[in-house]
């Protein structure tokens, strides 16, 4: 039985905010995010680390937050869906999901988007096969995945377009100076 004596103070950096909470060593990161920090955008869909609904970014890598103890996240930078983008300044993956109808009930969506962000960090211009393989860690019961695949491809296009616009702007800037 877990006694209160086992609790210890843990510092967590989530979405750029530093939180201090007294936690049990056995507390899972996902439970702390949801119950202690009120970040309920990260969902729990299973208890065997298979569905991926709880996927967040830890130091930029997609991680299932049900497989990680909160104490293990100390000293890491955690990003949840709440830190991804807001209305008016959405992350390309959020734009992609909205544009391509990549979600229905929306429950798996935050985790799937986080997994997709991880995927896009790996492949700049992923093929359909790479996207489908890359979504191995997540489950969706509504969409049949087709529009999720399109959403990820859409986001990749957006990121590429933004990058090339930035490069063009930088080139133009250099041109002006010379």
């Amino acid at each position: 039985m877990a006694g209160k004596a086992l609790k210890r103070m843990v510092k967590l950096d989530v979405n750029g905010t530093c939180y201090e909470r007294e936690l049990e060593p056995r507390d899972l990161l996902v439970h702390v995010l949801r119950d202690e920090l009120g970040l309920t955008g990260t969902h729990i869909g299973c208890d065997t680390s298979q569905c991926g609904a709880c996927t967040v970014l830890v130091d930029g890598e997609a991680v299932k937050s049900c497989t990680m103890l909160a104490v293990q996240a100390e000293g890491c930078s955690v990003t949840t869906v709440e830190g991804l983008g807001k209305m008016g300044a959405l992350h390309p993956i959020q734009e992609g999901f909205w544009e391509e109808h990549g979600l229905q009930c929306g429950f798996c969506t935050p985790g799937v988007m986080m997994a997709a962000v991880g995927l896009l960090a790996q492949y700049r211009e992923p093929t359909e096969e790479q996207i489908r393989e890359g979504l191995e860690g997540v489950m969706c019961r509504c969409t049949g995945y087709q529009n999720i695949v399109r959403a990820v491809a859409n986001a990749a296009e957006r990121i590429k377009a933004t990058e090339s616009a930035e490069i063009q702007a930088a080139v133009a800037h250099v041109g002006e100076r010379s």
């Binding site: 039985m1 877990a2 049990e24 056995r26 507390d27 439970h31 949801r34 119950d35 009120g38 970040l39 309920t40 955008g41 990260t42 969902h43 729990i44 869909g45 299973c46 208890d47 065997t48 298979q50 569905c51 609904a53 949840t80 869906v81 709440e82 991804l84 983008g85 807001k86 209305m87 959405l90 959020q94 999901f97 909205w98 109808h101 979600l103 229905q104 009930c105 929306g106 429950f107 798996c108 969506t109 935050p110 988007m113 359909e128 096969e129 996207i131 489908r132 393989e133 979504l135 191995e136 489950m139 969706c140 019961r141 509504c142 969409t143 049949g144 995945y145 087709q146 529009n147 695949v149």
Partner: protein, 782 residues
């Protein structure tokens, strides 16, 4: 203004869902919230000799522990709400927590309430229960044997009901040139919406108000039933289900768990939350399908089908869940003749109690079972007479000019153009070309196959009078209220309760179209019994045909009243007013006009309304459809089977569906995609397995194969649009078509691929092991 109906509009509900601001039940936080957990039986069938919860009660942080005996007389039993007539149905008592006896693995034995989730779960470990294990079985055929253990005193032979329908006498089968017979087992499936079930209850002692946030597809039905179970008057119970993470039928039923949470909240004076673990979902949330079917299909050598009959043993599980008896009877058997002009059809259905999780509606509910057996039988028949299965279908499809068509069970199919959908699908697939290619590939040793399904489904449930006649203990109409505010903005209250289907968007399209206002000016409110007068909920592909039609009628009522006010403002007769482009014009004098917003403001100011017109501007409708709607279509699948491993690869999938008028193609396509994957899940991957002792062997995502993204190609989808003639939108349902059609389509394709081996049938799911085994066996026989 171009109409927004039929446009590919992105969804209004998405902004909150993609930014993590949805409000799912487990997200609810309340001051003083405590947590519940439920101790569940590890045995499929046992007598409870003693429950000792004293250690748990003494634990720090545990507020209370309740056993079945503690609840006796305080909490009503869990009801069954579909009672098919003339079926000798046995509605056995189902206590919220088991008293003296458990009947399946997962049956609730004790409820713990504690200050945290972890303590509530820890406490389960120290409750000691003495069980005397009894014999039992999860198999319906074994449960019907004379020496089988009896689950309920009032259900001899474990027969929950016996129901027969239709007319297909022996003569039909004796005189037909060909009769094909087959036993088919449609395996048990586990719904697995990604959001587990959850409930949060808060009781206000001083007012007597009970609020329950719950994962519900039909909050008003839950209010009605929970009011009875809890003994709290209906007007004092509020059910809230704002964002629900998928349902697929599993969130229709009234379960013990929500009642327990509410009971504890009232007893303890604290808000209580319970969320099932995925393991609990596998064990206690209703399962689907699980039929053993013996089928006969008769026809002649020219391809004409003349009769079909089936005897079904439907596994109901340990108790009769809310809508369960209607699923293998009404929703299954009445559509048995499918889209074909089969003159004789009959079904003989036994509902059987077994030591397993109760079954109930699962996406398609009865209609996938009917479609699967029919479409498999049509292929076997085609093989028997040596005709192309597509040609057999073409020959028997109901011709367009015969609609409305009365099928052999008495249903009136509202409209259809079945051959059009078939031809379109064949063209998309390049069917003739594929058949030529197939012979060539077979010579090369490649096992490729094509499978076809032509289907019709009952959706848009349904006319309330019919609901009553078939024993559904409720109505199936829908409510809608369109409240136009003084500035012309609109709030809509609908009794539909979407949980992924996108009605916040399609319903706003209906209103924006009729009122000529921007989509942004319309807000759809659903899922709250305090805000919405009444609703029968979202299931049976009914939301758009019934809830949407209710909304169309209510909106028309707003326009009618607004016209009266506009006519008065323009000082012309009402019949001289035209509503166009968001303005009310005097006919023939387009310069004389007032805007919609001018009218809405005057409606509220009420300074100068026409005689007999009340202030404000609202439209209400309680819409009861005159008939069901009948969506239909053709699906085709191309598969390749690996000769060495038995693995099935889905190479192409073509779906042509007709759901009447398509309001938003983006959303309709999404419904088709999801449905296909769920149906292919049954065909190739999913299946609940119980061992001989009634232990669920597939109780986690590690053992139960959920479809993943990499299992599928990009689907090729298209629609034909044959409007329903009897609702104001011309719409039918699209939520279940994919699931109904894709299972037989893929299995037919695999059987086609395996034709050189003489394989006739493989029980689902068609795992590599089973397919490989069938090839070995078939190959040896050949």
């Amino acid at each position: 203004m171009a109409t927004v109906l039929g446009q590919r509009l992105r969804r209004k509900e998405d902004p909150r869902l993609i930014t993590g601001k949805g409000q799912y039940t487990d997200d609810v936080q309340l001051p003083g919230l405590v947590y519940a957990s439920i101790l569940r039986s590890p045995h499929a069938h046992a007598r409870i000799l003693r429950v000792d919860a004293s250690l748990a009660r003494e634990m720090d942080g545990v507020l209370a522990v309740y056993t079945g005996e503690d609840l006796e007389g305080k909490l009503g039993t869990i009801p069954t709400a579909w009672l098919p007539p003339d079926s000798d149905i046995r509605t056995v008592p189902h206590s919220a927590l088991a008293v003296h006896r458990v009947r399946y693995v997962g049956d609730g034995v004790a409820l713990v309430v504690a200050s945290s989730r972890s303590i509530a779960e820890d406490a389960l470990d120290v409750i000691s229960v003495d069980y005397e294990v009894l014999p039992g079985t999860a198999d319906q055929e074994i449960a019907m044997k004379p020496d089988a253990a009896q689950l309920h005193e009032d259900a001899p032979g474990n027969v929950a009901f016996h129901w027969q329908v239709g007319h297909a006498p022996d003569d039909v089968f004796a005189h037909a040139e060909v009769t094909v017979r087959q036993r088919i087992r449609q395996q048990r499936l586990i719904p697995n919406p990604m959001e587990p079930r959850s409930a949060v209850a808060q009781y206000n002692e001083s007012t007597g108000d009970m609020t329950i946030w719950a994962t519900s597809q039909n909050p008003h039905i839950h209010r009605f039933l929970l009011s009875g179970i809890l003994g709290i008057p209906e007007h004092k119970v509020r059910i809230v289900a704002i964002d629900v993470g998928g349902g697929f039928g599993a969130k229709i039923a009234c379960y013990p768990d929500e009642a327990l949470v509410a009971f504890a909240a009232r007893e303890l004076g604290r808000p209580v939350k319970w969320t099932e673990s995925r393991r609990e979902h596998f064990l206690v949330t209703t399962h689907g399908r699980d039929h053993i079917e013996d089928i006969e299909l008769a026809g002649n050598r020219d391809g004409t089908l003349v009769g079909i009959r089936v005897k079904v043993l439907a596994n109901m599980g340990a108790y009769l869940s809310t809508a369960a008896p209607g699923v293998p009877t009404i929703l299954f058997a009445l559509i048995l003749p499918g889209p074909y002009t089969i003159p004789y059809a009959a079904a003989d259905v036994y509902g059987v109690f077994t030591n397993s999780t109760p079954t109930d509606a699962y996406r398609g509910a009865g209609r996938p079972e009917a479609t699967y057996l029919l479409e498999r039988m049509v292929d076997l028949f085609a093989r028997e007479i040596g005709m192309d299965p597509v040609e057999v279908r073409r020959k028997n499809l109901i011709p367009r000019h015969q609609f409305p068509y009365h099928n052999a069970m008495g249903l009136e199919y509202d409209s259809g153009n079945y051959h059009l959908a078939l031809d379109k699908a064949l063209e998309m697939a390049g069917y003739e070309e594929f058949r030529r290619e197939q012979s060539r590939l077979r010579e090369e040793g490649k096992l490729v196959g094509i499978g076809c399904t032509t289907y019709v489904e009952i959706c848009g449930l349904g006319p309330s009078q019919v609901a009553g006649a078939v024993g559904f203990q409720g109505g199936l109409w829908e409510s809608s209220q369109v409240r136009v505010h003084p500035t012309g903005k609109v709030t809509v209250f609908t009794g539909s309760s979407p949980h992924g289907q996108g009605e916040e968007t399609t319903f706003a399209q209906i209103v924006a179209d009729r009122l000529h206002i921007p989509m942004a000016d319309v807000e759809i409110v659903h899922g709250d019994t305090d805000r919405i007068s009444m609703g029968w909920g979202t299931y049976g592909s009914r939301s758009t045909p019934v809830g949407g039609s209710a909304l169309a009628v209510a909106t028309e009522r707003v326009v009618e009243k607004a016209k009266k006010i506009a006519a008065h403002m323009l000082e012309i007769g009402e019949s001289d007013v035209e509503f166009d482009e968001g303005r009310f014009h005097a006919k023939g004098a387009p310069g004389r006009s007032v805007s919609f917003q001018d009218v809405t403001l005057q409606a509220y100011l009420a300074w100068n309304l026409p005689a007999g017109v009340e202030p404000a501007l609202e439209g209400r409708a309680f819409y009861d459809p005159v008939n069901f709607t009948y969506s239909f279509g053709t699906h085709l699948a191309l598969v390749e089977v690996d000769k060495d491993t038995g693995e099935v690869e889905l190479k192409r999938y073509i779906a042509v569906d007709d759901c009447g008028r398509v309001l938003n193609p983006l959303i309709a396509e999404g419904q088709v995609h999801g449905g296909i994957v769920q149906g292919v899940g049954q065909a190739l991957y999913e299946g609940a397995i119980y061992d001989e002792d009634g232990q669920l062997m597939t109780g986690t995502f590690m053992d139960y194969a959920m479809p993943k993204a990499r299992f599928f190609p990009t689907f090729e989808t298209a629609f034909t649009e044959t409007p329903s003639p009897h609702n104001p939108l011309g719409v039918k349902g699209i939520g279940e078509t994919g699931t109904i059609a894709s299972t037989p389509t893929v299995v037919n394709a695999v059987m086609d691929a395996l034709q050189p081996f003489g394989v006739r049938d493989i029980p689902m799911p068609l795992t590599p092991e089973r397919v490989w085994g069938a090839m070995q066996k078939g190959g040896m026989e050949a």
